[in-house]
């Protein structure tokens, strides 16, 4: 039912712009703030702020390579962050599948009854 992951993490990924940045990082594996800023409709400063929040939530980390700072996704943490939601989604998939089975059975039953009444 209600999922209770830690707040910092949810705040980090609840923001659509931040999700965009995180999404890009997942796709690219590793990137600098400038590279990311080239691909989003907001400023480098905004990207940097988003990166700090994501880093504080433990979703990404950084390493230095020469004069560049590269950001990358922490796959385990991301997995942990998305699992509660994925579980809720799976639960609904299961319920929808049951509704489908019940409704289709009821419909088939009604059709059989109609055919019996009017042969």
């Amino acid at each position: 039912m209600r999922t209770e992951p830690d707040d910092e993490l949810w705040v980090a990924i609840a923001d659509p712009s931040r999700r965009r940045v995180l999404d890009l990082l997942v796709q690219r594996g590793e990137a600098t703030a400038s590279t990311l800023a080239d691909q989003v409709p907001f400023t480098r400063q905004a990207v940097s702020k988003h990166l700090v929040v994501l880093e504080e939530a433990g979703l990404i980390d950084r390493r230095k390579q020469g004069r560049e700072v590269l950001f990358r996704v922490d796959a385990d943490r991301l997995d942990q962050a998305t699992r509660p939601m994925a579980d809720v989604a799976r639960e609904w998939d299961r319920r929808l599948a049951t509704i489908k089975r019940l409704a289709e059975a009821a419909h088939a039953e009604a059709q059989r009854a109609t055919r019996t009444r009017r042969p």
Binding site: R2, W10, V26, R95, I99
Partner: protein, 147 residues
């Protein structure tokens, strides 16, 4: 207060007419077959009821009922409180005919528990709409491709 803000959307195509799907989704004795073990609920706007899951259970308040296309309720709010957008989960079912069949969508959302002005909240909800499920699906796929 939890800051669990999310929206999940899922859908399925059902090979039955919309009226049959509507009854399966909304009739309490049908709901016990796909949802809770015990359902005590009047399907009309504003009705208070309850659902039981084994030993656990909770209050449910019906929001919209528009046969045969829309049914929504709030749940998971603290006992003794009226449900609001910030203390409960909203579950919405939407039905639409697709040829002789029926498309059924469900969304479950928790919005508004993060403190922000109401005007932003509407925009926030708008931006969230349809975003989460896709985001998760894509992440899961990308994650699977890498491992």
């Amino acid at each position: 207060m939890s800051t669990t803000d999310y929206e999940i959307e899922r859908d399925i195509l059902i090979e039955a007419p919309i009226e049959v799907v509507w009854r399966t989704v909304t009739e309490p004795d049908q709901m016990t077959l796909w949802f809770a073990d015990k359902v005590d609920l009047k399907v009309e706007p504003g009705a208070h009821g309850s659902m039981g899951f084994g030993e656990q259970g909770g209050l449910v308040v019906v929001e919209d009922v528009e046969p045969p296309t829309r049914f929504s309720f709030r749940w998971n709010h603290p006992a003794g409180e009226e449900p609001t957008p910030s203390n409960s989960l909203l579950v919405e079912f939407t039905l639409a005919p697709e040829g002789e069949h029926t498309r059924l969508w469900v969304t479950e959302s928790a919005l508004g528990s993060i403190d922000r002005p109401d005007i932003d909240k509407a925009k926030y909800a708008e931006e969230h709409n349809h975003g989460w499920g896709e985001f998760l699906d894509r992440l899961a796929r990308l994650h699977a491709e890498r491992t």
